[in-house]
Symmetry: C2
Subunit: 215 residues, 2 copies
């Protein structure tokens, strides 16, 4: 088996997508390993999840009076120290700057709880409820300087049910998120994603599907 | 059995969604009947489909130098002559005006080949291909004066496949469109759709699903 590719995960919150990646990396044939988890919040449960899994967990604080690029530079240092090749944003609530993106060109991924290009930005699940859509979902995409833009790797759709509240809808979307991110990371670290004019060409394996239904 | 509710269909093109409604209305328990089909194009195949099914087919030309509201007024006259209660846009390529909407308040439906609010306007399937999304679909919604806005009744999602061209994607979306429109019209004419602050509440029957997957 080839050496596993080291990835870094940035998270601000409870880190359920981090957990999905931890679980995937626990499988014998998974091609990635999480080398470090970074959070801007000292008390993020994501850091605790990392520690429990024996993964280095680093708090990189965001100093409000300093430029955001300095914060990203501090993260880049940590990521490089741990030999990270790919960076995964997982519930990371700050916009990343070119400082991070230039350090890992075309190697930063994000997951967003909507079917982009619908419902960019914060509170995507609530946006979907407010819009009255019957279908929403989640998207893994390459990160570009814009918010929730960037070439799309895979998406999963889920129904919005008449009796959904925010928590129920969020949970249904998370289920498909937890299938999407390990798929995207596998394809990424195996070199099977190719950027082609703002779109992503996938060298998919039999049985892989970059369009999921979580109905 | 209750009397069938007369609907009118406006179409500009070949009318495959019209055909899906014609087929649905041919079922013994379907609650609607198509009273008239109107097209702004004399040679629209939709008119021919109507004639073949024994449905009155009316060409209402659009005179370019007259206000669009006059065109809509002429259509309203035809729709009223035929006792129409609900109006379905099916590949109707002109924006409708308040003249039509006020004559049939909250009783005009449209089908759009995308998962609204993504990809409004023309060439929605090409927009989806250009955006590189993995999932797109179709939406039936109430018509409001804006383009492809208005409360959403039902949606169907379909995967975008790596080897899709416009025709293949269009065909896959049409398959789900042909399931969506008869469902929406049934719920509409049976009085099971309720507008509630820009959203649609559906009094759904067992087995009905306003979120479809056409994968």
């Amino acid at each position: 088996m080839a050496a596993r590719v080291p990835i870094g995960v940035l998270a601000s919150g409870s880190g359920t997508n981090l957990q999905a990646l931890i679980d995937a990396c626990g499988e014998p044939d998974y091609p990635a390993t999480i080398a470090v988890v970074i959070s801007n919040r000292r008390d993020a449960f994501a850091l605790e999840r990392a520690r429990r899994a024996g993964i280095p967990a680093v708090h990189v604080p965001r100093f409000r009076k300093r430029p955001r690029s300095e914060h990203d530079a501090a993260m880049v240092e940590v990521l490089r120290e741990h030999g990270v090749r790919w960076v995964c944003l997982a519930g990371y609530m700050l916009l990343v700057t070119p400082t991070l993106l230039d350090a890992f060109p075309d190697r930063v991924l994000n997951i967003h709880p909507a079917l982009l290009p619908s419902f960019r930005g914060l509170h995507a699940q609530q946006q979907a409820l407010d819009a009255g859509v019957r279908i929403t979902g989640a998207t893994v995409h390459f990160v570009t300087p814009g918010m929730d833009e960037g070439p799309i790797i895979c998406q999963g759709a889920v129904p919005v049910r008449p009796d959904d509240d925010l928590e129920r809808l969020r949970a249904r979307i998370l289920q498909v998120e937890h299938r999407l991110y390990p798929l995207a990371v596998r394809q990424a670290v195996e070199g099977r994603l190719r950027l082609d004019g703002g779109r992503v060409r996938v060298d998919a394996r039999p049985g892989e599907d970059n369009a999921l239904w979580g109905g």
